[in-house]
């Protein structure tokens, strides 16, 4: 097993490390950087629990090798809030609207929704369902999550008003 050096920016912080080439970005974040909020639910890119922002785009971190992310800018669930300990609007909305139960899928949803709302700040119900269709939740039936996305748009609007 050969290690390769990588340097990435994670949640605004420059992180350097050596990692086996085989390591996925998800495992690197979880095991090397102890950022365990990025969850691995299926290892094949379907469930969406491992979603992170890679250079601003929502991607499955289980399908990216850590070494491929060398030089990239990564945002994980731990970096989604405005500052440590404070909730961002999407996080706040998921809390308020009971958009979670077991919470395993939640970080992936929060990161995905944050990215989608940046591109589409006022989605309709149907557009919300489409933007959520790449993340699987097994507890809620998505109703609370759809409500949370609506609520998040309000919170974002309030914050920028």
């Amino acid at each position: 097993m050969t290690d390769q050096a990588i340097a990435i920016t994670v949640n605004g912080e420059r992180r350097k490390g050596r990692t086996e080439a085989r390591t996925t970005l998800a495992d690197f974040l979880r095991d090397e950087l102890a950022l365990t909020g990025t969850h691995v639910g299926c290892e094949h890119g379907v469930c969406g629990a491992c979603t992170v922002l890679l250079d601003g785009e929502a991607v499955r971190s289980c399908l990216v090798l850590a070494v491929q992310a060398d030089g990239a800018d990564i945002t994980t669930i731990e970096g989604i809030g405005p500052e440590p300990g404070r909730l961002g609007p999407v996080q706040q909305a998921f809390m308020e609207c009971h958009g979670l139960q077991c919470g395993f899928c939640t970080p992936g949803f929060v990161v995905s929704v944050t990215s989608f709302l940046a591109e589409q700040p006022a989605p309709t119900d149907d557009e919300i369902r489409e933007m959520l269709s790449g993340n699987i939740c097994r507890c809620t039936g998505y109703q609370g999550i759809v409500a949370a996305v609506h609520r998040a748009t309000e919170l974002i609007e309030e914050a920028t008003a």
């Binding site: 299926c42 077991c102 395993f104 097994r138």
Partner: protein, 729 residues
């Protein structure tokens, strides 16, 4: 909507309190079992059988042991205690020895200093098999040569009620099948074991039932139960799939052998063979009725495929049979049930627990009967609806609430939500929300809309004489209450309710929850819709004891700094069913009705469920937003079983053990959920009058969707999940 603004008074029972674990969960700070870490930790990995049925001729672990970084390789020979485990009967080997009985059965485990190395070490273990013909037909299993020393019959149950020779004016028959559904909880199985200095072990595991884990693990380790200190780790969903143990014994064995912490974490494909599934079932039904619609008799023969080991098959079958006639007055019944052993994947608990399968059948029968009698389908159900004081087919009289007619009326009479009208403005539905969705296959004119209706009931809590209880310890110190209860929080929201109940009884705002572990008495399993009643009752009881002491001391002027009490909450005792399947086997019942509206692409056989409207008997709502969450989530799983979720098993092998091919509804597949009514008739004997609410949403939602597809297509739809071929050829 409740907000997190600081409230003068924290929410009590009946209010929409927010989850105490909500903030860490939305921040990614909440630790699941999958996230646990210990210094010097090793990684465990399981070698599993590639065959459904084979004799093990030879196992050679030496190539794996020789690998640098591998610290232990264990097989059946290394189990110091009981070599078998099981929730109801100990028939499942910790490691297969001599013979393997299902694809994925554990043969050996490895501990290594890297997960990838552990995987390679498993590959290095040499196992020679003599492959045997697998027994995969559940009907054939009844008479086939035994594939296990305990035989192939896990349970044979016959219910004889009333005059089993009674005959009705009208008779309808059908044969129905339900495929194998998976719980597909999002957080794969995970656990961490840390050896203790005294020879014991600490186990942190994602689970539904930590005391059963401890007891079974200790028996296999050859340790007294108190030397296995088990804690519920953050659990990413369960739905029945974590009631049996999976890696618990393995990870503890490795930790004790290596003297180091060991973590095990299943991959998704491993998870599919690592836990039990919902039983596939084949059900033959015959209903007799008078011309006026009064049901005369229900006859049924049901065969449940239990797979290789017993798990909870016996209790699942009992539920299937007990509730197999539906929530109707049925004076005469003859129900014969078999739960059998095969070389298919083991099956056990999943939300609805046996009632799901027979509900699909009895509700299809009720529609057939209504049509044969030319009586409205809802009206037929109302005419036969159970009422308090009625006797069910096991001879048990319903002493609690039974608002069957109320749930039927509320659900059937509810207006259709916008977009789910039966005669829709057909061009309005966006392509993505038509059958076929993103594939752009259906234009509005290809789609037929129709509705279906179904009603169900099932028991709450454990039945048939099981000593079912929960324990809670409550401590009040400096104006803060601490609740210690081993109830596993798997997402259902007990942590919220426990706080609400403690606040309500003690009138204290600040309530802290201690970790759920085996340092307090058992809380039983988070299953059978039982924890609100059982552990809710235990928390209430302990709080009342503390409050009584506090009030007594206050009156006497001898106020103490610390108050503490422990309360064990047992429900009313139940009986084992007798040789005729009769007896007061159940504590309480919950009822629900579902009305589904579906769109079907007639030519492609694709279905999209548009809306599910429901009314449910809940006793009393303790937390409205959480109750809604259980109902919506339960309906999602019912819809999944109706139209897409099935483990395809071929000669004992799961063909679709991945999320690529085991399809779970996405947000584009999930219908709107409309709650027409939550019927609040407080249940006598239940804490705060509340019934469990987790399972009913899953039970008749499947049957309602199937009925709607039947109405849209004119097809038999006698099997779920419905496949396109079933609607076309």
């Amino acid at each position: 909507m409740t907000t997190t603004r600081t409230q003068a008074r924290a929410p009590r029972v009946g209010e929409s309190a927010l989850r105490p674990d909500g903030i860490p969960k939305v921040q990614g700070r909440f630790l699941f079992g999958n996230d646990l870490w210990a210094d010097g930790m090793l990684w465990g990995k399981t070698l599993r059988s590639p065959h459904a049925h084979a004799r093990i001729a030879r196992i050679d672990v030496t190539p794996a042991l020789a690998m640098t970084g591998v610290f232990a390789v264990l097989t059946a020979d290394d189990v110091p205690g009981s070599g078998v485990f099981g929730l109801e009967q100990a028939d499942q080997p910790v490691f297969a020895s001599g013979v393997v009985r299902y694809v994925g059965e554990p043969i050996a485990v490895v501990a290594a200093d890297h997960p990838e190395l552990a995987r390679r070490a498993c590959e290095a273990i040499v196992v020679e098999y003599e492959v045997l013909t697998p027994l995969v037909d559940s009907q054939a299993a009844i008479t086939a040569a035994a594939i296990h020393p305990d035989g192939n019959i896990l349970r044979h149950l016959v219910i004889r009620h009333g005059d089993i020779d009674a005959i009705g004016d009208v008779v309808v028959e059908g044969i129905y099948e339900v495929g194998m559904q998976d719980q597909a909880f999002m957080g794969p199985e995970s656990g961490l074991a840390i050896p203790d200095d005294d020879g014991g072990v600490q186990l942190f595991v994602s689970t539904q039932f930590v005391h059963a884990d401890r007891d079974q693990t200790a028996a296999c380790l050859g340790l007294p139960p108190d030397m296995v200190r088990a804690t519920v780790a953050g659990t990413g969903g369960a739905f029945g799939g974590r009631e049996d143990i999976c890696l618990q014994v393995h990870v503890c064995l490795l930790a004790l052998r290596t003297g180091r912490p060991v973590k095990m974490l299943y991959s998704r494909d491993e998870s599919f063979v690592g836990h039990v599934h919902r039983h596939p079932a084949r059900m033959e039904y015959r209903h007799h009725a008078r011309r006026d619609g009064t049901i005369v008799k229900v006859e049924a023969r049901v065969v449940f495929d239990g797979g290789a080991y017993a798990s909870t098959s016996s209790a699942v079958l009992a539920n299937a049979c007990c509730f197999g006639a539906g929530p109707y007055r049925v004076p005469n019944a003859f129900i014969e049930g078999w739960a059998v052993r095969t070389n298919n994947p083991p099956c056990g608990a999943m939300r609805g627990f046996g009632a799901v399968q027979t509900c699909f059948a009895h509700e299809a029968q009720m529609d057939k009967l209504a049509d044969a009698l030319a009586i409205d389908r809802v009206e037929l159900r109302l005419r036969n609806a159970l009422e308090p004081g009625d006797t069910i087919i096991t001879g048990q009289r319903i002493t609690g609430t039974a608002p069957v007619a109320a749930v039927i009326r509320a659900c059937a009479d509810a207006p259709f939500p916008a977009g789910a009208e039966l005669d829709p403005d057909s061009e309005s539905a966006p392509m993505l929300l038509r059958p076929g969705g993103a594939g752009r296959t259906a234009d509005a004119r290809h789609v037929t809309r129709a509705l279906g209706f179904a009603v169900s009931y099932k028991n709450l809590m454990f039945s048939e004489g099981f000593d079912d209880y929960s324990t809670a310890r409550v401590r009040v110190e400096d104006g803060i209450a601490t609740v210690h209860c081993a109830c596993a929080e798997v997402g259902q929201g007990f942590v919220t309710l426990a706080q609400q109940i403690a606040r309500e009884v003690l009138d204290i705002d600040e309530v802290v929850l201690a970790p759920a572990d085996t340092h307090v008495g058992s809380a039983g399993s988070t299953s059978a819709s039982r924890q609100t009643w059982m552990s809710g009752g235990a928390v209430e009881g302990a709080c009342r004891l503390v409050k009584a002491q506090m009030e007594a001391d206050a009156a006497a002027g001898t106020v103490q700094r610390v108050y503490e009490a422990t309360f064990e909450h047992h429900h009313a005792p139940t009986q084992r069913l007798d040789e005729n399947g009769q007896g007061d086997a159940h504590v309480s019942f919950a009822f629900a009705a579902h009305r589904a509206v579906v769109d079907v692409d007639r030519d492609l056989g694709l279905v999209r469920v548009v809306d599910v409207t429901t009314a449910q008997d809940v006793g009393r709502v303790l937390n409205p937003v959480q109750a809604l969450g259980q109902i919506e989530g339960g309906i999602a799983q019912g819809v999944g079983l109706a139209v897409m979720e099935e483990l395809v098993v071929d000669q004992g092998r799961i063909r679709n053990a991945s999320f690529t091919d085991y399809l779970i509804p996405t947000a584009l597949d999930m219908p709107t959920v409309t709650v027409a009514a939550l019927i609040e008739e407080p249940e006598p004997g239940a804490p705060f009058g509340a019934k469990g609410i987790g399972e009913p949403p899953t039970i008749s939602s499947t049957a309602a969707v199937a009925a709607a597809i039947r109405a849209a297509t004119g097809r038999a739809v006698d099997r779920v999940p419905v496949r396109p071929d079933d609607l076309l050829f």
